[in-house]
Structure formats: C-alpha cells, structure tokens
C-alpha cells in the first residue's frame, strides 16, 4: 500500500516508469472486476483501459490519507462499471459468439485431471453466467466480497453506503445467486 502511494507521488513528479509500474501491478485486478461484472472479455479490456485513463487524469486528486490506492482504484472501477451498465442497458440483448468462448482461469488449474478441469470450467461458466443475471447493486457487492476478498469497511468506502447496507446486499446477492444457479440446474451434490 505504501509502495502504491510512493509510486503515485513519483507519477505526479513526471516519472513515466512509476506509472508503468502502477499499471502492471493493478491491471489484472481491474480487469477481473470488470470481467466478473460484465462477463465479456473484450468489453472488460476496453473498460480496464478506460479505468486507467480516468485514474491517469485524476491521479492528482488521490489522497493516501483517505484510503489505499487499491481501494480508490476499485471505487473508480465500480463507478465506471455502473455508468457503463446504465449506458448499455438497452444494447444488452444478445452476446456475440466470441464472448461465449471459454476463458482460461489459472486458479489451481495445474495438477487437475482433464475431466475435473472440464467440470470446473463448466461450473465457472455457470457461476459467471449467474453473476451477470444479478442486479448491479447485488452483483458488485458479491464480487467485491467473495471474489476480491475485500473487508466490509473497504466495500463500504467503495460503494459509499452504510455497513448495514453492504452486509444486506452481500447476503441478498448470495441468496439470489444460489436461486439463479438452481434455476440453471446447478444444485448442491
């Protein structure tokens, strides 16, 4: 966290290499938030680029005393995702064939048997699909808590809502996700 603040200071002093380091450190995280929210790879890459463009332009407004850089960056990402969701609400009718292509996930994929990996890949696709069916408020709360592993306090800062609302949204989001998965035929063994 301190290293991020130091890199931000160096960026503001005009050091291009510091900005490059910040981008390399956080691209994966921003992309994953975007991908889990949209479920679309190409769209997520465009959104990630927009997030960093906005961060680059507003970097001077970042204050390390008001929270970590990662929290601030996640907040910018979330705001951009919500803007994007509202803007493209009418356009989201069908997905292109390219977007339906499976995405390679790297978590513990090594060492698994091919059949296990295929099952896991199928389940991951179903969970991702179920996530995109949640309302944006519940979706973002579940992504931040269960996929980004953030604390309630951090989520409260990012979403700018009281902690009780954060807890309620996470709880409702999980229940709604379970209901959607059941509708899709994914049931506990």
């Amino acid at each position: 966290m301190e290293q991020d603040a130091q890199l931000v200071q160096q960026c503001l002093q005009g050091e291009g290499s510091a900005w490059e380091e910040l981008v390399r450190r956080h691209t994966r995280r921003v992309f994953n938030i975007c991908y889990r929210f949209t479920g679309n790879r190409a769209e997520s890459e465009d959104l990630s680029q927009d997030v960093f463009l906005r961060i680059y332009r507003t970097l001077a407004s970042y204050r390390s005393a008001h929270g970590g850089f990662a929290t601030w960056m996640t907040s910018v990402t979330r705001n951009l995702l919500i803007d994007h969701y509202r803007r493209t609400k009418r356009d989201r009718v069908t997905d292109s064939l390219e977007d339906k292509m499976p995405v390679v996930e790297n978590k513990e994929s090594a060492g698994r048997r091919p059949d296990e990996q295929a099952l896991l890949g199928e389940l991951s696709g179903q969970v991702q699909s179920a996530l995109t069916r949640l309302s944006p408020e519940l979706r973002e709360a579940v992504i931040l808590r269960d996929l980004q592993q953030l604390e309630y306090g951090e989520i409260q800062t990012i979403l700018a809502v009281p902690e009780g609302t954060v807890k309620s949204r996470i709880n409702r989001g999980r229940i709604e996700l379970a209901r959607v998965l059941q509708q899709m035929g994914v049931r506990p063994a």
Partner: protein, 227 residues
C-alpha cells in the same frame, strides 16, 4: 433462544462467514436442522458460495498493459524518449556533464587556446601539441626557478637566525680587520684560523646577496653590520 426462518435468511451470510455469536450459532443450527424450508436454502447458498470461491483470476490479454500505456502516455517510442529525457535531469548526469566540460576547458586552456579570440587553426592537433609542449616546458622551468629561489631564501633565513641567536659567536667570528694575505706575519699578532676566516667571508657574502635581493631590508642590515 428461539430462531425464525426470517432470521435465518437475514443472518445467513453472518453464519457462513462465522460472524454469529455462539448462542446464535447454536440456535441457527437447531432451527435449520428442523426446518424444511431453511435446510435447502442454507445448502444452496453454501454451495453457491463454494463455487464463487473456486472461481480463479482471469488472465487479461498480454496486449492490455501496452494498450493502457499507449492510451495514457503515448506509443512505446515516445514513452522511451520521454524516459530518456527524464533521465537527463538526474543529478548524477548533470555532475558528469559539468566535470567533462571542466576537464575539456582545462585541456583547451592548457594547450593555449584563447577563449576570447578563438580560431579554428588553434584546434589543429599539431598546434595543440606544440603549444602544450611549450606550456609544459615553461611550467617546468618556472617550477625549477621557484624551488631554487625558495632554497636561497631559506638558506639566508637560517643563517640570519643562527647569527641572531648567538651574537657573541658572531662578534668573535667576524674579524675586525681583514688578515694579511701575505704568508708570515711580522706584527706579532696571531692570524685568524682559516676556517673562521672562510665563515666570515661567507656571512658577508650572504648579507650582500640578501641586501641585493631585499632592498627594503638594506637599512637594517647596514645598521647591524655597522654595529
């Protein structure tokens, strides 16, 4: 503690995250184990949460970082040029440039190059060599002369100090009259020993040299010698 289905649904995440108090946890378990509605709810949400946690990180395209950097800072070549220019502002580079410039100036000056009236011909290697050689010889000759002068002055000073510290010796050493150079004396006096005579002659000669070198001190030496 009694527990209801509404409580189960409202506190389900707290239960799954382990945030319930022990008494609440016990009541939750008792209710879920006996409630036909809550048992599948807890099982399905627990399963969904497990599936969520199994989702891994998705790797972005390798081109994404570069496209972000291009969108924010321009193309790769431009970024490299800016980084190079930024590197020129480092104190280490500035010190290096200043020291190289100072060295170059020193060499030019030593080779006789005139900064007030610079000529292209002065920069010819043969001219630089000839002037540098001449300058080196002049500097060497001046150094030798300076050292020689210092040696003479030191010698004179040491002699004067010696005489001032022991005036009796000086008076005795200097004969009142110069001895006759003729061999064999007829006036019955003992002639000065040859070594004493030589020393007296040396002191007198040194005083004359000092008087010639330092005209300001002539008066004081004149008085001292007359005493």
């Amino acid at each position: 503690m009694t527990w209801t289905c509404e409580q189960t649904e409202a506190r389900l995440s707290d239960y799954l995250d382990g945030l319930l108090q022990p008494a609440e946890h016990t009541a939750f378990d008792l209710h879920v184990n006996t409630c036909e509605r809550c048992t599948p709810l807890v099982a399905s949400v627990s399963h969904a949460l497990g599936a969520l946690h199994k989702l891994g990180q998705v790797e972005p395209s390798p081109r994404l970082v570069d496209s972000i950097l291009t969108a924010t800072q321009g193309p790769q070549t431009w970024r490299n040029a800016k980084r190079w220019l930024h590197g020129l502002q480092s104190p280490r580079f500035v010190y290096s440039v200043v020291s190289v410039a100072a060295t170059f100036l020193l060499i030019l000056t030593a080779s006789g190059f005139s900064l007030r009236k610079p000529k292209l011909a002065d920069l010819a290697p043969a001219t630089i060599y000839r002037r540098a050689d001449s300058q080196a010889h002049i500097v060497y000759a001046r150094s030798v002369k300076f050292v020689s002068d210092l040696r003479v002055v030191y010698e004179i000073q040491s002699r004067m100090n010696e005489n001032e510290q022991n005036p009796a010796v000086r008076e005795e050493a200097i004969p009142q009259t110069a001895p006759s150079k003729d061999p064999g004396r007829t006036d019955g006096t003992n002639p000065a020993a040859p070594r004493q005579q030589n020393r007296a002659n040396d002191v007198a000669r040194n005083l004359q040299i000092l008087a010639a070198e330092c005209p300001l001190l002539t008066g004081s030496f004149g008085e001292r010698s007359s005493r």
